[in-house]
């Protein structure tokens, strides 16, 4: 029932790196990300019987990784603050008008410099491909909060990148 060890290793090889990056983006700490990865794989392997074929194994695993990562974050007493009260409309600003060369590595580093709340929402939306409805569900916040947080995170990201660009010149 548990599947052979070789098959488990194949799954590990296939998904470990991607899942590690998912966890790392949320947690920003390599040690914690590894803990999450380990727990997630153990969970997945021991509960493989619960796995329903409605999704792929990868998506299922990713869900486990994200939930575990968020739990770790919450343990750090991080709160996904509701910003509903301050309903200033964030200006839909785009990256079109700015000078910095978009480099993946730069963006990646800049994301790690975002505060926890921004980083999580931005990562889930931009990199993990969840929509705001799903993010609201995962983080137990409102859809509107997710949208606002994302807009602000993007703004902040832009300013980090701009600062970096200026320093480089």
């Amino acid at each position: 029932m548990q599947g052979s060890r070789a098959a488990q290793f194949e799954l590990y090889k296939l998904y470990a790196k991607a899942m590690y990056n998912v966890a790392l983006r949320i947690l920003n700490y390599e040690e914690e990300a590894e803990d999450v990865l380990q727990e997630a794989f153990l969970d997945a392997f021991t509960r493989i019987v619960d796995f329903r074929q409605e999704t792929t194994f990868g998506l299922w695993l990713k869900q486990i990784v994200i939930n575990k990562s968020i739990n770790y974050l919450r343990k750090r007493k991080m709160e996904f603050v509701s910003t509903d009260e301050i309903s200033e409309v964030p200006d839909e600003d785009s990256f079109d008008d700015y000078e910095v060369q978009l480099q993946a590595e730069e963006i990646r580093t800049a994301i790690t410099q975002l505060p926890d709340g921004y980083r999580v929402v931005l990562s889930l939306y931009l990199l993990e491909g969840y929509d705001h409805e799903e993010i609201a569900h995962i983080l137990k916040i409102s859809e509107n909060t997710s949208r606002t947080q994302y807009m602000r995170a993007k703004k902040k990201l832009k300013s980090i990148l701009e600062q970096k660009g200026m320093r480089d010149e």
Binding site: Q2, R5, Q8, F9, Y12, A16, K17, A18, Y20, N21, L24, E30, A33, E34, L37, Q38, F41, L42, F45, T46, D50, W60, Q63, I64, N67, S94, F95, D96, L102, A104, E105, I107, R108, L126, L127, K154, L157
Partner: protein, 175 residues
């Protein structure tokens, strides 16, 4: 909508997954998996022996108490058919209580509440039993006793259903 950042990320998605977990991580996972495999049969074995022990203890206690109370007036002395029902219900109740006890560890508060409800019914039963010898209408008391058993059983069934659902819900929400 067509934002440069979103588009860029989408097109260069792979460039964002650059970090690698440490090489020894699989070994750790493998070790944990081995531990779990070894633990499982032991756990099951323990559970089964615990269950067997409970059954033996209950059986002995039942025999012992039965002997002690032999001088008391029993339901059987009043009505054989009600006594049969009573024994039947009592057996089912013990069985259901055991099943409930298995869930106890996972849901301690719920279990506490349930046992409190059951305890009240049990006390009622005992009170009826002490009343039985001196009662002018013994058949009436016996009827009430059997009814009490029946209610206990219904309650237990409900409780098991609830606790099962709670358990399922918890399991589903774990993911």
């Amino acid at each position: 909508m067509n934002n440069r950042l979103e588009t860029f990320v989408k097109e260069n998605r792979k460039a964002f997954d650059v970090m690698e977990p440490s090489a020894g991580l699989w070994a750790k996972i493998e070790q944990e998996l081995d531990n779990k495999k070894k633990k499982k049969p032991v756990k099951l074995y323990l559970w089964m022996s615990a269950a067997a022990a409970i059954v033996v203890v209950f059986g002995l206690a039942w025999l012992y108490v039965g002997k002690l109370q032999n001088k008391d007036l029993e339901i059987a002395d009043v009505s054989a058919s009600y006594a049969k029902k009573d024994v039947h219900f009592a057996g089912l109740i013990t069985e259901k209580r055991d099943s409930l006890a298995i869930f106890a560890a996972a849901n301690p508060e719920l279990y506490k509440k349930f046992t409190a409800d059951l305890k009240k019914l049990d006390e009622d039963y005992e009170r009826l039993k002490t009343e039985l010898p001196s009662s002018p209408n013994q058949t009436f008391v016996v009827k009430a006793m059997v009814k009490n058993r029946e209610i206990q059983l219904q309650l237990l069934k409900q409780q098991l259903l609830i606790i099962n659902q709670v358990d399922d819900y918890k399991r589903v929400n774990q993911i």
